[in-house]
Amino acid sequence: MSHVRSPIRQEWVTNTDTYGKITEDVVRPIESKPNAMWLLFTAISGLVMIMCFTLIGWTIYKGIGTWGLNKTVGWGFDITNFVFWVGIGHAGTLISAVLMLFRQEWRNSINRASEAMTIFAVFCAALFPLIHMGRIWLAYFTLPLPNTRGSLWVNFNSPLLWDVFAISTYLTVSLVFWYLGMIPDLATIRDRMARGGRKIAAYIYGALAFGWEGSSRNWSRYEVISLILAGLATPLVLSVHSIVSMDFATAVIPGWHTTIFPPYFVAGAIFSGFGMVQTLMIVTRKVYKLENYITMDHMESIAKIVIATGSLVGLAYTTEFFTAYYSGAFFERYIFINRMFGPYSWAYWIMFTCNVITPQLFWFRSIRRNMVLTFIISIFVNVGMWFERYVIIVTSLHRDYITSSWADYYPTWVEAGIFIGTFGFFMFLFFLFSKYLPVINMFEVKTLMHHIKKPQHVIETEAALAADAARQDS
């Protein structure tokens, strides 16, 4: 690129000296036949996904009674999973929108896959409030539609309704942002397929590429729209998890009724999302041999965000606990002591260890650059963040103001199956994505290259032209 660049800055693209190599490396999995490993893992995740939808079908057929919920604990695995999956989604938008506004160059190679992760995670998340309704066919009751049900309108004062708007906006905006970002790359694949004589593939990718030609006029407009979309998606991502947190914070349940929830949830969401980004990227870069684009420095940057947000989450846990103690509110105090030492203390301590203690290992450079350890820690983060939601929801509900209504909650196999099943659903979609769409944003990575060599096809064309000219002269 033409701007001045400090030589001490690290290179985000390594061992690559032509633009064509990026295209080749990213398109390789799309061009080649699916290998046995991919088929195996896609089949396994597909089966798990089928289990998920079968159990959802069973829940709808039999009713919510198939779950372990009771009158006291009315939210259990369902809302835990909902918040967990929505949280995962936040990293993708953070990478694609917030880091774009901050002009973080390292986002360029991981944004595509993270955005895909966001969308698939929000798909999983959206399932849970829907099936929790029990009568899923009445889901449209949540929309403010003119109706003949005694003119029954939705409650605009309820955060649950805000959530309907937040999640649907978030999902559709993320989808559009993701797709728009992919159009130039789809055009690249279209032309590459056409060059390789693969007509059907060229036709399909061509249809998806919307006739993209890459003219400067297009690019100029494209950059403006990307920037505005990023500007709009940035407050959106903060608003979504703030609203999710208000589902809890506006209730008068001890342990929920606290003003720290919105920032605490947003930090937690980004933390859990980056945990998932780590998990997926470590595997993706290895399997698809993309280490030149998702370098160690990228993985280090992600680890640094994990440590920052993990510490924020730790701070929130401590603040929450201190506030409960210092407020002198009886029920509030009890709930927190009960969280730490009550029947669900095991969940609390799993949460605390996985979210606050293990990510601190990322202070060591050697650990940040060790992919095996990073992978293990990222799994811990995922587990810990799931337990965070479980702890918040179940421990606050199971012992409320009236001792006579205290009850315990444990999930049934149906709930557990649906939860595990959503991982199948998520991974199935991710495997399909990684096989048929470019996992790396090729055009944005190309803008990061600083030392370009003349490509082979140019050398050949020049030689041919020179030979032609020589022939004509003689």
């Binding site: 309108w153 032309d191 249809a207 890459g214 003219s215 100029s220 729209i225 505005i228 998606a233």
Partner: protein, 171 residues
């Protein structure tokens, strides 16, 4: 309608920038530059104005916000006031989240639609390509021959600035 173009192909963005600068100096009108990724700083040489999509986004966002506030106020204030826990039905602070979401929803989707309409993109549209590598690693500078007075001069600029191939193409 088909046009005849004089086409210079490059493999490096710096050469492209050199070329468009030279063309501007010599008053030769460049039809457009095609590149696999955005070339920053090329706009002034091609007389590209900054897109006004931001204005569209603002107006669309305003539409969303107005629509949300109007709907909620009408439904809650006029059509069907609801008493939930004795709280006021027409509570504007409670309308903020939905108003915000509606603003973003309208601005984003409306702007993307505007982008597709203005740029004339649609699913299945056939791309007109000067080179089948222009979305991969080749940069194309195209000059409309109908508006080109001195072809030799343009070819000279291409050769000087490092075009590896100079051809003609009808699109």
């Amino acid at each position: 309608m088909e046009k005849n173009f004089l086409v210079g192909k490059f493999w490096n963005t710096e050469h492209v920038l050199d070329a468009v600068k030279k063309f501007q100096e010599k008053d030769i009108l460049v039809y457009d530059v095609y590149s696999p990724f955005p070339i920053h700083g090329i706009e002034p040489y091609l007389n590209i104005r900054r897109s006004r999509l931001a204005i569209a986004a603002f107006l669309l966002g305003l539409t969303g916000a107005t629509l949300a506030v109007t709907c909620m106020s009408l439904i809650y204030g006029v059509i069907w006031p609801m008493n939930i826990g004795g709280k006021p039905a027409l509570a504007f602070p409670d309308f903020v989240p939905i108003t915000f979401e509606a603003t973003v929803f309208f601005a984003c989707h409306g702007m993307v639609l505007t982008f597709f309409i203005v740029g004339q993109y649609w699913p299945g549209k056939k791309a007109k390509l000067f080179d089948d590598r222009q979305t991969d690693d080749v940069f194309v500078v195209a000059i409309d021959q109908a508006k080109l007075e001195n072809e030799e001069e343009a070819k000279e600029v291409f050769a000087q600035t490092g075009a590896y191939e100079i051809t003609k193409k009808t699109l």
